[in-house]
């Protein structure tokens, strides 16, 4: 327990199972007690109360902060500039100092203290805006947000605070989205730089939320950058498979380490999200029509190639371990084939652009969608995981619905396909639930 994090879901299940095992005389009371002690099952209630308290403190602190800032702003006109600055800085320092004292020095109320340090960082962000108002600075919105993100991530590293890191990631992402139009060249590698800073924090602090959020923020920032550089659907299909390879490969490598295995599943889920995204976007015929515009620009090349190179490196690092693991082999193979098909579809587009054969590029992307969905459904069955199964089923339903809305077919055919899809969906659900009941009756 000291070296690795055990999910609360597992502990919850274990707590229920221990009672059953003890009743069925599979384990003794002593064994049950030592397992309960090892996984701190008796503290679960206390931990969830602490989390709830922390959330309440954060909300309370944010409300107090908003109230104080509104009070200062309401009397703005009558307060001299120096006094305004002194007041807002004093408020920020008070939040940080009192919070740090309660959290780390006296440890009287760690959760309230941590909430106040988080409030200090929120007030820091508000203060950047207030400083700009006091001195009539109308800079670009994203400059202020980036400054806020830098201050927040420094504080997150210094006091090992995940909420501070989450503020930094969210604020950075909003700043990136609002500024991506202005500094195209500078913004090209910003997602990679931000990912390096935020992910290092997540690794040092073993934080799955920070890892997931920074991966999603950096990944979608790259997609948004490529989209802003060239515009149109085509940009999504080009960069998304590279990101999918990168995150899934990363997940495969992480899952087999002792220190960082907690990041394995989130990274693989994020990789799957990106390949589903890329395959789905590429499966539209409109995608091919916009391609000529894409070829006129070159700005998308640098981040896209970087994503693919990093992705290939991650897969090369993981391939040996994947081949030795039967469970991982199939889902990895399915995802890899889908990625290759999407990439092939994208690469074939400029070759067949003006010929009727470009139809095959769209077919290729649609096959990628079906393979990915089939892989997810099969993995849902083999791992008895309802979420993975339903993700696959819903994805294929989305693809089929999109195709029938996209192409002009007769209403009768549309009606027949939708009815068939609906029935298949219901049957698949019933079938899967029956399968689950047979395979794990004790859990149901």
């Amino acid at each position: 327990m000291a070296n690795r994090k055990i999910s609360n879901q597992f502990r919850e299940l274990l707590k229920q199972e221990l009672q059953i095992w003890q009743t069925d005389s599979i384990i003794s009371a002593e064994q049950s007690s030592s397992l309960s002690q090892k996984y701190r099952l008796d503290q679960m209630q206390k931990e969830s109360t602490h989390l709830l308290l922390f959330v309440i403190y954060i909300i309370g602190a944010v409300l107090v902060g908003a109230g104080v800032i509104s009070f200062v702003a309401a009397n703005w006109e009558n307060i001299p500039a120096a006094a305004k600055v002194a007041m807002i800085v004093a408020f920020m320092l008070a939040c940080h100092f009192i919070g740090y004292y309660l959290w780390r020095i006296s440890a009287i109320s760690p959760r309230l203290g941590h909430a106040l340090v988080v409030l200090g960082t929120l007030v820091f962000g508000a203060n950047i805006g207030l400083m700009a108002q006091i001195f009539h600075i109308k800079s670009n919105f994203y400059n202020g947000l980036f400054a806020w993100a830098i201050g927040a991530i420094i504080m997150a590293y210094a006091v090992k605070s995940v909420p501070n890191a989450i503020i930094a990631i969210l604020v950075w992402f909003i700043g990136f989205c609002s500024g991506v139009d202005d500094h195209e060249r500078i913004f090209a590698f910003l997602p990679f730089v931000a990912a390096a800073i935020f992910l290092l924090f997540a690794y040092l602090n073993r934080s799955v939320p920070a890892f997931s959020l920074s991966s999603l923020a950096a990944g979608f920032a790259t997609v948004i950058y490529v989209w802003h550089s060239v515009g149109g659907l085509a940009s999504y299909g080009i960069v998304a498979p590279g990101l999918a390879l990168l995150f899934f490969g990363w997940g495969l490598v992480s899952a087999r380490t002792t220190k960082f295995h907690i990041f394995g599943s989130p990274a693989m889920i994020i990789g799957t999200i990106f390949i589903a995204f890329g395959a789905y976007i590429s499966s539209f015929k409109q995608y091919r029509l916009e391609f000529p515009e894409l070829l006129k620009e070159r700005l998308w090349l640098a981040p896209t190639i970087t994503a693919y190179l990093l992705g290939i490196a991650a897969w090369l690092a993981a391939i040996k371990q994947v081949l030795s693991d039967t469970n991982a082999k199939w889902i990895t193979a399915g995802l890899f084939v889908s990625s290759v098909l999407v990439v092939a579809s994208v690469l074939m587009t400029p070759v067949f652009m003006d010929s009727p054969d470009s139809f095959w590029c769209t077919v290729c992307a649609n096959v990628a969608c079906f393979i990915l969905a089939a892989t997810l459904v099969a993995n849902g069955f083999s791992s008895l995981d309802r979420q993975i199964f339903w993700a696959g089923v819903m994805f294929i339903a989305l693809v089929i619905t999109s195709r029938f809305l996209e192409y002009e077919t007769g209403l009768l055919i549309k009606a027949a396909v939708f009815i068939a899809c609906g029935i298949c969906l219901i049957l698949a659900g019933v079938g899967f639930e029956n399968y689950l009941k047979q395979r794990r009756p004790a859990n149901e």
Partner: protein
């Protein structure tokens, strides 16, 4: 002081430094700059406000003394030489693509070319909520008579300090 507390203090110092860096240049300009009066030019009367800021245009935003700057790429730094007229209003006398030497009776203001005008970083002025309607209406009625008091430092950087409409002074 423990290492942990030292890191906290360093992080807090970094936040304070960032906060101080935001207005640093404007404070320097206000403390060391020369005061000049600039005549505002009409902006779109239907959207005078942009958020909490009043949008200002100036006669020097579109200097008539030269058209050369209009051919320069957007985002290029330019230096505009200003001289005071008998009424104390400063107007553009020349536009340069490099910083020129400043004559005793002149001031250099640094700007950046935009698509159709030169921007000096003084185009926005924060108005508190209570005064917003009053100032907006006053500005809309007397747009041609409005003036801005601006400080300009030796490098040509500018900061707006007051908005003056006829005899009414708005300083926030």
């Amino acid at each position: 002081m423990s290492n942990r507390t030292l890191w906290f203090v360093i992080a807090l110092g970094a936040q304070l430094l960032i906060l101080a860096a935001v207005p640093a240049q404007k404070i320097h300009i206000r403390a060391t700059g020369k005061t000049i009066l600039l005549k505002t030019a009409p902006v779109d009367p239907y959207s005078i406000m942009s958020g909490y800021y009043v949008r200002l245009g100036y006669e020097i935003s579109n200097p008539k003394v030269s058209d050369e700057w209009k051919k320069w790429p957007a985002g290029k730094h330019v230096w505009v030489m200003l001289k005071a007229d008998p009424n104390g209003i400063w107007d553009a006398v020349s536009v340069h693509d490099r910083q020129p030497s400043v004559p005793n009776d002149g001031v250099i203001i640094k700007g950046k070319t935009s698509r159709w005008r030169i921007e000096y970083g003084i185009e926005s002025y924060f108005i508190p909520e209570d005064a917003r309607d009053k100032v907006t209406q006053d500005l809309r009625r007397n747009l041609k008579e409005a003036k801005a008091e601006v400080k300009v430092d030796s490098a040509g950087n500018a900061a707006i300090t007051k908005l003056i409409i006829q005899d009414r002074v708005y300083a926030y």
